[in-house]
């Protein structure tokens, strides 16, 4: 699966290069082909962390905590991709690096929530797993707000109507990139969760050793 995702990423520049330029933004809009899938994976990671945290908190599933931590880290990774590529696009398309509109501000907030979540998990000590789970739930609650924010508040940011109305020659490379990013997300989530589950096994073995 990792090889497939890597292969798709290697072919992506050719697909993107074949797409036409955009009438008002010109060449720079091609950042969109990596920016938008990153933003989607950012939100998917936040939702995954929230659902896994809910399972951990309310259904008392210890393995769900590993999934939540893995997804929380991926939210930070894909959030960083989104928040770096967005301003690079905006500098050319809008003339400024950043505007404090609802979409950008709420995305930054979600990113900061998951950075805080990781810091809490690393340095919070005993009980930080439950506190972190609550925080991840709060992060997940932000996602619908981020998604619809462009439709309700005045913004320079493209609306959610852009994706379904995209011309075919722009839509094909976009959906190709979305597929590549989704594959990458699944691979990274599985790898990172495996790491967390192995760590849990190490801790359990140390406890067993101390008891005997």
């Amino acid at each position: 699966m990792l090889a497939l995702a890597a292969g798709m990423f290697a072919l992506a520049p050719f697909m993107i290069n074949a797409a036409p330029n955009e009438a008002t933004m010109g060449l720079v809009y091609k950042i969109y082909f990596f920016h938008m899938p990153s933003a989607w994976m950012f939100m998917v990671a936040a939702i995954t962390a929230g659902i896994a945290s809910a399972r951990f908190l309310f259904l008392k599933r210890p393995s769900a905590d590993g999934w939540a931590l893995a997804a929380g880290e991926l939210a930070v990774v894909f959030g960083a991709f989104t928040l770096v590529t967005g301003p690079l696009w905006a500098r050319k398309a809008w003339g400024v690096w950043w505007v404090w509109d609802a979409r950008l501000t709420s995305s930054l907030m979600l990113f900061m929530i998951f950075v805080a979540y990781l810091l809490l998990r690393k340095y919070g000590g005993p009980g930080s797993d439950k506190l972190g789970a609550g925080m991840a739930l709060f992060g997940m609650a932000n996602v619908p707000f981020i998604y619809v924010s462009v439709n309700y508040w005045r913004t320079f940011h493209p609306l959610t109507s852009v994706v379904p109305t995209l011309p075919v020659e722009m839509g094909i490379p976009l959906w190709y990139c979305v597929t590549a990013f989704t594959l990458l997300f699944i691979v990274l989530l599985r790898m990172r969760t495996r790491l967390e589950h192995q760590r849990a096994r190490v801790e359990a073995l140390y406890l067993l050793e101390d008891e005997s």
Partner: protein, 85 residues
């Protein structure tokens, strides 16, 4: 009967407008062109290269980081399991 006629007239009047609205792309849609927009002040290529480069380096770095951490934990796990036997 009169109300029904009024409704029919209203529907017939609205239909061409609805068809026209459906044919028009909503504002904010992307419009493809064959050439680069003339008179661009800020070059786009360095910004695109920075955006794609950041993601490529980020993905490779993150995969390497997970792999390294996983290798370390699995070595520790193998050590503990061999000690337990």
């Amino acid at each position: 009967m009169r109300l029904r006629s009024l409704l029919l007239i209203a529907c017939l009047a609205v239909m061409p407008m609805a068809a026209h609205a459906a044919a028009q792309p909503p504002p904010g849609d992307f419009v493809p062109v064959d050439e680069t927009v003339p008179g661009e002040q800020i070059p786009a290529l360095p910004l695109i290269a920075a955006a794609y480069g950041f993601i490529w380096v980020g993905v490779l770095g993150y995969v390497w980081s997970i792999g390294r951490r996983l290798q370390k934990v699995e070595a520790e796990l193998a050590d503990l399991e061999s000690r337990g036997k």
